[in-house]
């Protein structure tokens, strides 16, 4: 992991680290990568991925509409709203 490639990750996930913080994160990556490298010794070529630890299948609901909250309630925690919209700086089209 280099500072440049870290910068790309920061950009994707909307973070901005100082130079010192970058160094710390790169050291953290290095430690994790070392640990992870040991997993390469585990042969997983014929192992299925395990996304869910419990064998539950097909959880679906019927197509029924239900209103839970009003717009005013939903925007109670909002930093800025206007006419019932959430408001953000203008996006360049």
């Amino acid at each position: 992991m280099t500072k440049d490639s870290l910068q790309k990750l920061e950009k994707l996930y909307q973070l901005c680290l100082t130079e010192e913080e970058k160094e710390g994160v790169i050291a953290f990556f290095a430690k994790q990568d070392d640990e992870f490298a040991a997993l390469e010794n585990i042969d997983t070529a014929n192992v299925e991925r395990m996304v869910h630890v419990m064998p539950i299948l097909t959880v679906v609901r019927e197509d029924v509409e239900k209103k839970l909250f009003t717009r005013e309630e939903l925007q109670r925690n909002a930093p800025e709203t206007m006419d019932g919209y959430w408001q953000v700086p203008r996006l360049v089209e």
Binding site: T58, V59, R61, V88, R90
Partner: protein, 478 residues
Amino acid sequence: MRYETVIGLEVHIELATESKIFCSCSAKFGGEQNDHVCPACCGMPGMLPIVNKHVVDLGMAAGMMLNCDINRVTTFDKKSYYYPDLPCSYQTTQWFAPVSVNGRVDIETSKGKKSIRIKQIHMEEDAGKLVHDDWTNTSLVDFNRTSVPLIEIVSQPDLSSAEEVIAYLERLRSLLRFAKVSECRMEQGSMRCDVNLSVRPEGSDVLGVRTEMKNMNSLSAIARAIEYETARHIDAIENGTEELVQETRRWDDTKGASFAMRNKETAGDYRYFPDPNVMPIVIDDEWFNTVKSNLPEFPEVKKARYIDELGLAEGDAEHLIQSRAFCDCFEGAYEVCGNAKEAANWLIFDCSKILNQKQQTVDQLNISGKALGELIKLVLDEKVSRANAKKILSAMFEEELDPAEYAKANGFIVSNDTGAMESVIAAVIAADPKSVNDYKNGKEKALMALFGKCMKELKGNCNPQVLREMLLKSIENA
């Protein structure tokens, strides 16, 4: 040198469901801003996604209509990117095991018949909408469309012209509307299209640089964009006017040109991974067969049947198959009244006229075929006059009713009470001696005036033939 265009399409279709894909908010089009929203679909923490079963039904139905294989175990995955219309900054979609794969759509153009291969159909959630406010120079976010269920139909790059693309889209629209998967209304955004296009020398088997134009929502704009983009690519190749790069472009229909968009994420940047909160969906035989048995006949099969078996004119059959609702109503009405031509006419002329007045589409036809059939039967049996039957039809668009009972209750039943007719005729003649004289002096029109007055007095509930004969007799004797 001659060039050929290679086009693949990604078509997004909003599904016709009551509620959203992972929460119970309304999925209906419109509504006040942020009125169809709950904590889950505006990105608040803590609610967990539960899949709407009907979305899976429709994903399968679409796959079956497009000759796909159905993945009997289908799973959902998360895809990350930042944009204000995406409240969780991830979209839940299907990457590893989409519901339908490996399909085929047959189209016909001026160059003949062609099969377009379908790579996959996956289910996913829609994003919200942004409105730009010039006054405050801000953008305003509306999450009503967030998490509305979509399917994305991904074709192989088998299309080679605007004409083929339009034939393909029209075919998709017809099939999916028929299967009640979606209304596919481009003007409301319930059918949108991403066009992937590249150009190569004719006969070459190497693909050129591919560009993608996103969110096209009218057929004519798509045609213009394809013409423009093809010319731009050829110009770049032949004259080196620019270097083609793989990118996403936005089509500006008013300027008639495409422009590069600023974000250039690649598939890797989206970082797909399986959603730990949504369990795999297993489609067992029972579920599969239920969806399969509810599929409609293909429109052209219906059309042929209407012509060959029911004796409809080709134009009438073609008109009916534009809408599944019309076909269902037609078939129901025919079953009751036994007269296909009558049933078709009532739909094509009378029902269409009322829908027009109500500014509704043919898919919004909401009267039962059985009731229409009963109404037609009343007319054919001469129990209700045609004019009064039209009034009853209008009432049927407002509420569910039994035509015979409604006719009785509103005095629309044709009466054969000649005594009542005679007294009405006598009164009309007595009140308008001038018209009687005019007719006797050869003015045919005067008879129509008298006839109309009688009909009005009788509220239309008499056999016009009988009335006419009785009226003539009375005038002679007057």
